[in-house]
Symmetry: C2
Subunit: 344 residues, 2 copies
DNA sequence: GCGCTCTTTCGAAGCGCTTCGACGATGCGC
DNA sequence: GCGCATCGTCGAAGCGCTTCGAAAGAGCGC
């Protein structure tokens, strides 16, 4: 519990000299500085956190808002919180955890009391109440995931266009010729959500570019029943499905296919792309391109620190390249047709 | 960003009157108090966190130390961190998350800088480096789980004796007559760890009380191979196994039994008791009596708050009654023999 | 009506730090 | 040798709050 005054006295210098010697914000003679540092070390001096916060008007604390919804995948979200904490610490910040109902209220509180210098928002919903809140806060905030209306916000998310293209490539490269996309519900797109549309357009364009038959449906309700029926009507030889939809719909894909005598991988390959849920624990896991915790959190903390230190709060959306996780739901079809004119 | 001075001025009173009106630490006339509260509300006044911390010499922050070992079960530990945060918030504290290598260093740092009023230690190891550290810290600390040497510490853990008795009761009540305990390795017991011994003794005593044959082994290495062989030598009709051991050993039980043509539940019932790992995702899950996150964290935070507010830092070990999670690894044997003289 | 107690409010002193302005000392050019 | 800039250090203000002691006012008994 040594204070800066103790260090100053022991070193025979003034308090401000100690402060400058430790912070390096003004030049101090090498001999004085070394003596101060040695004594500080010897006394085990560490600045009192709240005194420093009050004087410097910054807390070196980042709040992490993570509502843990009932449908939240613990393991995935644990990873995000942990990664954020690790990266933040490396940047000199501690992290305050705001969960459940306090995920929202805690943001307001930690911003208003200036407990936190910045906020990282995890587990973002389409119509997340934290988005409008963040717009009113004086405290820099970065979202990991995109709410429907991203105006005025700083967000990090998966590059959906790239994910759509990679999903198409994977299927086509494995010999599939009739592929369908189960997108989000119409309501979701109508609500102003932009990424399903970005994904959808990239999917259609790239399927065309690769020369395969493609169809798109939007689920009605919370099952894939109707979507799969419609896909099969349009593409009787459907051999690949891309899921860019919600967890509830995705979870029904295997049983719905089974009811038609179709088996994942054997008859129809499936890839979930641009989704925030994990399919690893589905009865039949699907290949997935999810948000990558490490990459997302690193990018998010970097942006946040830039906003705190550099004052750069320009709204922006940073898109991360997708990572493909192979869980065996894509099987090789007949060998891809030889491109014309190639020597076999 | 209204300050207490703004509120005081708007209400036409002094700063100290506002402070007392808000904290209730001195009596203030009802009319004055109401006016102050109304104006504070109107201005959206919230006290500046660090100013309050500095003046009151307390941060209302609890640090949560959670090293996330490679073998840590994310989901289980997520639950502990989340529950701690929820309970702490309800008690008026925010939680600072300290993970990985910072789980140790962060404790020292947040205690020395008085960033945290108290520390909750999760994911406790037998020979946890945080135990000796906690003894040197001025900051109240509560462990969730028991290190080998608990002297001088405040700990919350499962009631191992009760868990051992319940495991025996479950097996005996289901008609089992030859039950074995796979305990911890000898090294673990030799290292001064007390709970395996407590479990073991309660197991032996209670098996005897219930009149069934019992045997105990300690694994060598990280497999159940030798233990199961020895149990079968001693109890050829072995029909129940209780696991109070490490995750690595527990994970090998099913294959080792299978190699001998024995199937869990059908031939041998298995219960894991007093363990900190989840068996839910084993290929064959075992009935378990684990530490209960909600109960443990509530007890831990209660103890910590008592230490912070009440100054009660008496070292103690609080034991929680076990909760039985039935995952189907215990089957009914021949009906339990009728007690003598009972009308059937 | 005087002195007493009790209640309500105020002023001021910190909490431990950062940071600004200033001051003495030193070194330089002329 | 004098003035000027530069460097290293110091003192003091202030961050926004809590809390202590005291002052002012009200109510009471005699």
């Amino acid at each position: 519990m040594a204070t800066i005054a103790d260090v100053a006295q022991a070193a025979g210098v003034s308090i401000s000299t100690v402060s400058y010697a430790l912070s390096g914000k003004r030049s101090i003679t090498a001999t004085t500085r070394d003596r101060v540092l040695a004594i500080a070390e010897e006394l085990g001096y560490l600045p009192h956190a709240s005194a420093r916060m009050l004087a410097a008007n910054r807390s070196n604390i980042i709040a992490v808002s993570e509502p843990v919804h009932p449908d939240t995948d613990d393991s995935a979200h644990m990873a995000f919180a942990m990664e954020t904490t690790k990266v933040a610490r490396a940047a000199g910040y501690d992290t305050l955890l705001l969960v459940h109902d306090d995920a929202l209220a805690g943001m307001r509180r930690s911003a208003a009391t200036q407990l936190a210098d910045g906020i990282i928002v995890l587990d973002v919903d389409e119509d997340d109440a934290r988005a409008p809140l963040a717009r009113t806060l004086a405290c820099p905030t970065v979202f990991v995931g995109l709410p429907a209306d991203t105006s005025g916000l700083v967000c990090v998310d998966l590059d959906f266009e790239a994910a759509a293209r990679e999903a198409v490539d994977r299927l086509v490269d494995a010999g599939h010729t009739q592929i369908g996309l189960i997108s989000h519900r119409h309501e979701t797109l109508d609500r102003g959500s932009n990424f399903p549309l970005r994904f959808l357009r990239a999917f259609v364009a790239h399927a065309q570019a690769r020369g395969v038959d493609a169809a798109v449906t939007h689920p009605q309700g919370h099952t894939a029943e109707g979507s799969i029926r419609r896909l099969l009507e349009r593409l009787p030889g459907l051999d690949g499905i891309v899921l860019n939809t919600t967890a509830d719909v995705a979870a029904t894909v295997t049983p719905v296919l089974a009811a038609r005598g179709l088996e994942v991988a054997r008859d129809v390959s499936v890839i979930a792309a641009g989704v925030s849920f994990s399919t690893a624990r589905f009865a039949v896991p699907f290949d997935t391109m999810p948000l990558d915790a490490r990459a997302s959190c690193t990018a998010a903390v970097d942006l946040l620190v830039a906003a705190i230190d550099g004052g750069d709060r320009t709204p922006r959306i940073v898109l991360l390249p997708p990572t493909y996780i192979d869980l065996g739901s894509v099987a090789s079809r007949a060998p891809a047709p030889e491109p014309l004119g190639q020597v076999s």
